[in-house]
Every structure is written in C-alpha cells, then in structure tokens.
C-alpha cells in the first residue's frame, strides 16, 4: 500500500471514529446564544451548559446513582466470574462443555425477552425503583462475557506454576491468592472495565425499573433535556460528555488488556 493511500485511509478512519465525539464536546461548549445551533466551530465558548446540567439539571444525582450501581456490579462480577473461570479453565468435569456452551448461548438472549418477566418479578419483590434491583440484573448481564474472557487468562497461566506451589506445600487457597490471582489481574482489569460499561450504559432496565426520577441513572436521566417540542441540545451534549468521558478514560487505559483478553477468550481455552 502506497504511503499516500495509507495516510488517506488513516485520516478517514480517524475522522469517522472521532467526529461524533468532537461534535458532542463542541456542542456542549457552545455559548448559550448558539445553543442548539448546528455548527462545527462555535463563535462563543462557555462552560454554562455543564454548570446547568450539574446544578439545575439534577444530573449530579444521576451520576452518583450510576457510579454506585456500576461499582457494585464490578466488584461482585469480578469475584463471581473469576471463581467460575477457574472452574472451567482448570478442571475437567462432566457437563463442562455444556456449561461453556450455555455461557456463550446466554449472551444471545435479548433484553426484550428478559425485561418483561424481570419487571413483573421485581414488582412483586418490591425491587422496582431500587438501585439493588439494577445491580443484580447488570451482574447477570456482565457475567457470561466476563467468564468467557477470564477463562482464557486463567488457561494462559502455566499449570507448572501451580504444581510448584503445591509441591512447596501451599494449600489450594494459598496458591489461588499468591500464584493465580496476580497473573490473571490484567484479565480482571479487562472484565471489570467491561462490567463497568455494561452497568454505566444500560438503558432499558433503568428506564423500566425506575419511576422516581431521584433513582434515574445517567442513561435515563438524559431524557429530561428533551422537551415535548424542543430539545436543549447544549444540555444534552454537556450531560453526554460527562457520561462518556469517564468510560473513554477507562477504555483507553485498559485497551491493551481488553483486546488481549478478547483474543485469549476466542482462541485459548
């Protein structure tokens, strides 16, 4: 491939990937006079939109709710997924393949099929309008992928290291903590980022389960800036920027581990 063609292709990819992000941030920083106007370069720059969504838009509350739900999902998910990944990567047992196939198949279940029965269930259990109700649902959503990915990381740890620990007289629990855990830590980072994003971005369940606007998460809270006839695009984009930036920072930090994990999950086992 010639250098010029390569440069052109790289530019194209950069523009396509970054354009929505650029437009989001620029619109968020657009001065009030221009709020909602469609321009690639505003005449007047301001932080007013951010100040508005955080102070008057009630968005601070939604950020706290989302953060609580996401962190709880990540912590519980990492623990459960690691235990399950060790089971499928390290032990040969009856129905092992069935468990793996089930983990893979479960990812295909559409949320639309789950939201109806879980809404009815949550209603009878008085779990509607609670953050805990969302946490358990998001935990279930993030587990299959986390198990599948961690499986590759656990399998990549040489069995010889574990044997050596046994020979040195370490118990299984000791081996787990001192040998396995440090080596699969990158995998845990990758799956934690993934679980965080599942919980942070989820929309349907948050929309269906939460009726009191005090309990909204960020994804649902954004809707308050859409009026019946007009949309406060400056506020929407400022709030969107606040939602998106933390996720992007996470992603970029974890990128190497995330992609390695995907490949490990895909080809090892």
């Amino acid at each position: 491939m010639r250098a010029a063609a390569k440069g052109l292709a790289v530019t194209g990819v950069l523009v396509f990937t970054l354009f929505p992000v650029y437009l989001m941030i620029v619109t968020a920083l657009n001065g009030e006079a221009n709020a909602g106007s469609r321009t690639l370069w505003p005449d007047e720059w301001t932080l007013d939109n951010f100040a508005y969504v955080v102070t008057e838009g009630g968005f601070g509350r939604y950020l706290t709710n989302s953060l609580t739900v996401a962190l709880a999902t990540v912590l519980a998910g990492a623990l459960l997924a690691l235990l399950a990944a060790v089971a499928v990567a390290r032990f040969r047992f009856r129905f092992r393949t069935s468990v793996l196939v089930m983990v893979l198949i479960i990812q295909m279940v559409p949320v639309e099929a789950l939201v109806i029965p879980l809404f009815i269930q949550a209603r009878t259990m008085a779990m509607l309008d609670t953050l805990a109700g969302l946490v358990v649902v998001y935990l279930a959503f993030s587990l299959p992928f986390a198990i599948w990915t961690l499986r590759g990381f656990v399998a990549a740890v040489p069995v010889e290291l574990e044997e050596a620990a046994y020979l040195d007289g370490a118990s299984w629990g000791r081996m787990f903590r001192s040998v396995l855990l440090p080596l699969v830590a990158p995998g845990l980072v990758a799956t934690s980022v993934f679980s965080f994003i599942v919980a942070w971005n989820e929309f349907i369940f948050a929309l269906t389960f939460m009726s009191d606007d005090q309990n909204y998460t960020v994804a649902v809270g954004l809707r308050r800036f859409f009026g019946q006839h007009a949309t406060d695009w400056g506020a929407v984009m400022a709030a969107s920027t606040l939602i998106t930036i933390p996720v992007m920072v996470f992603f970029v930090i974890a990128q190497k581990r995330l992609t390695d994990g995907l490949v490990a999950g895909a080809v090892k086992g």
């Binding site: 990819v13 929505p20 399950a84 198949i105």
Partner: protein
Amino acid sequence: MTVAERTDVDLGVAPPAPRRPCRRAGAARPWLLLAPALLVMGGLLLYPLLRVLALSLQDFGLRELVSGRTKWVGFDNYAELLGNADLWATVLPNTVVFAVVAVALTVVFGTLVALLLARLTPLVRGLVTTAIMVAWAMPAVTGTYVWVFVFTPGDGIAVQALDALGLLDAATANPFSNRLSFYAVAALNVVHHGFPFVALTVLAGLLTIPRELTEAAIVDGAGPWRRFWSLTFPMLRPVFAVVTVLSTIWDFKVFTQIYLMPGGDGVNRNVLTLGTWSYVESFAQNRYGLGAAIAVLLTALLLVVTVAYLRLLFRDEEL
C-alpha cells in the same frame, strides 16, 4: 497430560496416595466455584426466559399484573402475532434486513481497518487504536443522540451538507420519517459503535500470524487478495467466527439505538423492530402476553442464528 504424570516423571516425588482424597474433593470443587455465577445467571437469565415463554401463553394485562392471577389462553397471542400483516410487511423485514446489513458492514469495515492497522508503524497504530477505542467507548445512548443531532431535520449538520450537495431539501426533508433513511442513520450509528470490537479483535489475531508465513506468501507471488483468503482468513477462522457471531447477536437485538431515534419508540410503526414492538406492546399498551410472544419470536430467531454459528465455530475444535 495429567498433573500426576508430570510430577512423577520429572521430579520423582508426589506419591499418588495422598492425592486421592484431594481428587474426590476435586469432583465437587468446580461446581462449588461455579455455583454463585450459575445461580445468578440461572435466576436472572434462564428462569426469566422460561417465564416469558409462559407469559406468551397468557392474557397478561394490567389487571393480572396487579392481582397476580394468571389467565391461560393457549396460542392466542401467537395467532394474533402471526396473523398481523405488520409483522410480515414491516417488523420482520426491518429486524432481519437491518441486522444482516449492519453485520456485513461492521465485519467488513472492521476487518479492513484491522488490515490497515497491521501495516502501520507502532506509533501511528497506537494513535488510531486509541481513536477507535474512543468510538467503542461511546455509550449507545449518547452515540445515538449525537447521530440524531447530526441528522436533525432542517438544521442538522448532515441535512445541511446533503442540501448543499443538492441531494435533498433541508426545509422539507426528515430523515427519520422514511423507513430507509431511518435505518441508514441507525446503521451508521451501529457500525460506528460496533466496528471497533471487530477491528481490534482481528488486529490482535493478525499480530499472532508469524511474519515468515506472510513473507513466504509474498515470495510465492501472492497478492493481498490471495494472501487474505489463503492465509489470513483460514488462520483466523475462529476469530472471524467469534466476531461475526457476536456482531450478529448484538445487531439482531439492537434496541436502545432504535428506541431513542425519533419515532423509534413506537410512534412511527413503519420503523418498528421485533424488540421495540415487544417493548411497546408490553409497557405502553400493558399487553405483556403479546409482548412476551413477540419477544419469544425474537429469541427463537437469535437461537437459530447462534446454534448455526456455534456449530461452525466448534466444528472441529474442543472447547
């Protein structure tokens, strides 16, 4: 190769006797480790799936929701669903054609980007990879709002640009009212959000192919097209299978991106998908039974796709 074999041979220690009780504990251990995850997934993914199947055979409305009574109606919901002309003329084509096109675009574009990335210097590759990560990290909700903003009738940037090119009249055109343009915007959104996964996964696979193989192919006179189909594709078959399966599953059940577009929440019945239709019937009309039947149809479709791909994926491979 078992653990015992190796230690015996290599080190001459670890007599088999004390391992015995250990091994019996070992039979239960994987299940103990799996138990918490299986309980959560069983209770929140599998059980609701059975429940939705049961609901699809009931007349379940607001009254049943409040009282908790059940009213079985057999296959009435399915009869109504399959007898609905909208299903065949609108909803099913919207769902299936959109998914097929979106998957094809996502996988082809993602693979092309991966092949490009593999040819870049590490510095430029790192830069582009970061940009791609940023697109991937953009939440579906905010991504959708930005694309809606871009295509807003009248003064959206894309609408203005298309007007300037003479392709439409910004004063009258509404990209969201027409079925085809609605889904064109949706496809743009879904590809933007979905191609990074394909690109980065395929790239990671490409980097595992030994250089010597590629060089040998070049020496043998194979062009890029030939090299891709004779070398890269066969070697990365599992990777391609996984990205295609997952993209298919994701694109078939795209919900948020459609629901949040103007008219996508059921207002414009021309752009309904199985997913949004099921949701609207349930939560806007309080017809949970019919909504469940639609959801079951969608799940059945996905199950067929998933099983077909799983067979492809694990045809000659042990899990």
